[in-house]
Structures are given as C-alpha cells and as structure tokens.
C-alpha cells in the first residue's frame, strides 16, 4: 500500500536511472579494461541527471577519450535538454522521426569515432551534434542527412571541409536503443564495437543539403 499514486512510478523511475548509471559506468570500465595496453587519455567525463530541474532538465552521460590521436566517445541520451529542444531542433527531430524515437526521451546510446584533429580542446556538444542536436541555425553548419541514420550499423557523418570544428563535422557513429542492452555481454559487444569503429564504413557519405532536410518526414 502506497501513500500516493505517484510513488510507484517515481520508484520505477529511480530504479531506471540507477540502471542507466550502472550501464554507463560498466561501458567506461570496459573501455578502460580493453585498452590497458594502449595509451588512452580521458578527455571528458560527465553524468548529468538533472531530471527534476523545472526549467532545463536533462539526463545525459558522456565519456570522451583519446586513443592513438583520435577522439572516441560514448553518450547515453536518456532525456534531451529542454533548452536544446526549445531552440531550433528540426534536424534532431527529423533524426528521431527517422528512428522512431521520442525526441524528449530518446533513450539512445550513441558511440562515435571522430576524425578531425584540431587540437586538444574538447566540446561536449560533439556528442549531441552526431544526432544533429545542439546545432546552431547557421548556413555554414551543414548537418548530415537525417535519412542516413539507422540502427546498429556504422554511419559516417561528414560536413564540408572548412566547417567550424566546434561542431562534430566528421565521424563514424553507431546508434542503439538503450533498453536493448540486457546484460554484461551486450555491454562487452558495445565496447568492442566502439573500439573497432572503422574509419571508412560501407555506406555513402551523406553531406547535408537542404533539399534532403526538407524531404524529411
């Protein structure tokens, strides 16, 4: 017997968020264990679970590391930041529509190999950029085609040369539904896939063009 009908859903939400934390920690541990013999530099680690913020809630986990001079990262996007959805997020919403995801609570696992080497600075927004979130509405920022995104296979996103490197302009990404991870074996597979993301994948490089954007459902 509970004192309020809200108790049970909140308890479930609490348990869910704890599990997300565990998954993220286990993925990071797996990356570190499998790269013991390599030189890996931790570049950024962030767990933001502001799910009760009334104005700008979000639930995101992000780990960026450098290996052999290249950045790779893994991001769990449970709840997209409200601010980012309020602003122009048409491209991100188009990606969500393509993948049949809820844009507010996408429950998305993204892992990325980024190619451009442009100095030691790191942008947290890179991870969001890979699914076309947190992109400014500027003409010189040309995002990938939302129709090129797909589940469980590497997708190369690339912007024209000379695009502002603040934004993740050249990367191979893989997307998975967070809730499809059922055990430690799955986590091991994800770590392997992240570490083995190839430079050139067998899908066409799709540059953004406004025509494809406007054709997005």
């Amino acid at each position: 017997v509970t004192s309020s009908p809200f108790v049970e859903p909140l308890r479930e939400a609490d348990a869910f968020q704890k599990n997300v934390f565990l998954i993220f920690n286990d993925i990071v541990d797996g990356i570190r264990e499998k790269t013991l013999s390599a030189t890996v530099i931790d570049r950024h680690w962030e767990s933001s679970c502001k799910v009760y913020d009334s104005k700008n809630s979000e639930h995101v986990h992000l780990y960026i590391f450098e290996i052999a001079g290249q950045y790779r990262f893994v991001q769990i996007l449970v709840k997209a930041q409200d601010n980012l959805l309020r602003d122009s997020a048409a491209q991100y919403k188009a990606v969500c529509a393509k993948l049949n995801l809820d844009p507010v609570v996408p429950l998305l696992l993204i892992y990325v190999r980024r190619f451009v080497e442009d100095g030691p600075w790191i942008r947290r927004r890179w991870a969001n950029n890979t699914v076309l979130l947190d992109l400014p509405n500027r003409e010189d920022i040309k995002p990938a085609d939302p129709n090129s995104f797909d589940w469980n296979q590497p997708v190369r996103i690339q912007s024209p040369a000379g695009t502002d490197s603040q934004y993740c302009e050249d990367a191979t990404i893989r997307l998975r539904r967070l809730t499809e991870i059922h055990d430690q074996n799955e986590i091991g597979v994800i770590v392997d896939e992240l570490l083995n993301l190839a430079a050139h994948v067998g899908v066409p490089i799709l540059l953004a063009d406004q025509a494809s954007l406007s054709a997005t459902p």
Binding site: E8, F16, I23, E33, H182, Q184
Partner: protein
C-alpha cells in the same frame, strides 16, 4: 564480522568489510573462492592460474604477520593445501577507497618471496572500477625483479556472485543463502554492476497498470492512457470499474 571481532578490528570499516566478505566466501565450497580469485590479472592482463581440484582444502588467516624483510600485515593469507606439493599461499591485500600505506604491495611480495619462495601469489583486491595499471607497475618495480602482482575488484565479486546465483540452481539452500546475502551486501556497499532492467511497468503489468488493464479487458474497452485513467479513478474524477467493487466486497 566474526574474524574482525576476534582480531580486534571492528573499528576499521575496511577490515570489517574484508572480514564479512571473506568470512562468507569461506563458508562456500573451497573451489568457489578459488574460482573467483582466478579472475585476478596483472597489469599486462595475465590471468592468475590456479589448479582447482573438486574439493580443495583451504585455510584462511586474517591479518597474519609477515616478518621478513620487515613487519607487514596483509589482510588475509589463503592457504591451498596440496597432497603432492607444498601448499600454495595467496596473499590478499584488500582496499575500499584507501590507497596503499607506504609500499605495502612491494613489501608483501618481498616477504612472500622470502617466506614462501615460488609457492605464493599476491592479489590486490580494491574498489577501482578498472585496473590501476600504473600503481601495479610501480609496485612491481619496487618489489624487484620477477615480481608479479594480480588485481581484482569488488565489482567482479558482485558479478561472480550473480553468475553463481544464476547458474547454481542445484546448489544447496545454505549456499544460495550465503550467495544471496553476499550479493545484497555488495550491492548495498555500492559494488553493483548492471544486471538487467528490472521488470518494468511498461513491459510487465503491475499494480495500477494491471488493475486498469484487467478492468479494461473485462469491460471490453479500448485501452487508453491507463496511468491517467487510474489516477482519475483514485481521485474520484471518474467512477472505478465495477470489478474493483466486486473484488473488495467479495474477496473470493
């Protein structure tokens, strides 16, 4: 906590934890403890090899004194008896958050090498989430040529316990109880790893969802927003479904 109590260590949280965990593990068949320890590995990912016979004879000493080359006190020494050769000693140093005091690992390895030459292994059991590579390498360097230090963490123990619970349906009741207690203890102490999603409201009807879906099925209505509907019923905005009244009036 018996071992910690017997040795006057109950004021040190780390010692109590070590005593509790190894005290419980030691109640399981000897092969279990050895099986878990074989997950240890060096900073070069060399796994600890232990020849695990079906019923090994084990002896455990908590906080024993090793006096050469100087006094040092590891948390435990596990002695694996053998009929054909000298016993193997597993020297275990456990940590929960604290760093080494001085050159503990190097000291223990040197002491082990003097006291049990070629018949010991050193295991560093910590709460690091991943291998403390640099620390192990530095300790091996300080210990001297040939030193090899294995590492394991408490998260691995949680996973091992969970695996035993999943696989060991045929285990005696007492062993399951010990494993269950160990799992809860480790989880409570924060050494849990992801197991799986718990049965979820959206996947498995429970409570308000089940009540609503049952009533919807009985009434033949199309299922809508069960959460809103249930809350509305609780708040009296809409009448509860008939079966709820029947159920409360007639428990049979």
């Amino acid at each position: 906590m018996i071992y910690a109590d017997l040795r006057g260590k109950i004021s040190v949280a780390e010692d109590v934890f070590t005593s509790n965990v190894f005290g419980l593990l030691f109640l399981l068949p000897g092969r279990d403890l050895l099986d878990f320890l074989t997950f240890s590995h060096t900073s070069r990912r060399e796994r600890l090899f232990l020849r695990v016979v079906s019923e090994p004879k084990l002896k455990i000493d908590f906080w024993p004194y090793l006096t050469c080359p100087r006094v040092c006190i590891p948390d435990a020494i596990l002695t694996v008896e053998s009929r054909t050769s000298a016993p193997l000693r597993l020297i275990i140093e456990a940590k929960i958050g604290a760093a080494q005091t001085g050159d503990q690992l190097a000291d223990y390895w040197r002491a082990g090498n003097i006291r049990y030459p070629n018949r010991f292994e050193l295991i560093y059991l910590t709460d690091h989430r991943s291998t403390p590579k640099r620390e192990l390498e530095e300790s091996e360097t300080r210990a001297g040529a040939g030193a090899k230090i294995y590492w394991l963490n408490w998260y691995s123990l949680f996973q091992w316990v969970q695996q035993q619970l999943s696989d060991g349906l045929s285990r005696p009741y007492s062993e399951k109880q010990i494993l269950g207690l160990l799992k809860n203890y480790l989880s409570d102490k924060g050494y849990q790893t992801f197991l799986t999603w718990r049965p979820w409201a959206s996947l498995m009807p429970t409570s308000y969802r089940r009540k609503y879906m049952c009533s919807a099925d009985q009434l033949g209505v199309v299922r809508g927003s069960y959460v809103h509907r249930y809350f509305d019923q609780r708040l009296g905005k809409i009448p509860p479904p008939p079966y709820v009244l029947q159920h409360s009036e007639n428990p049979s």
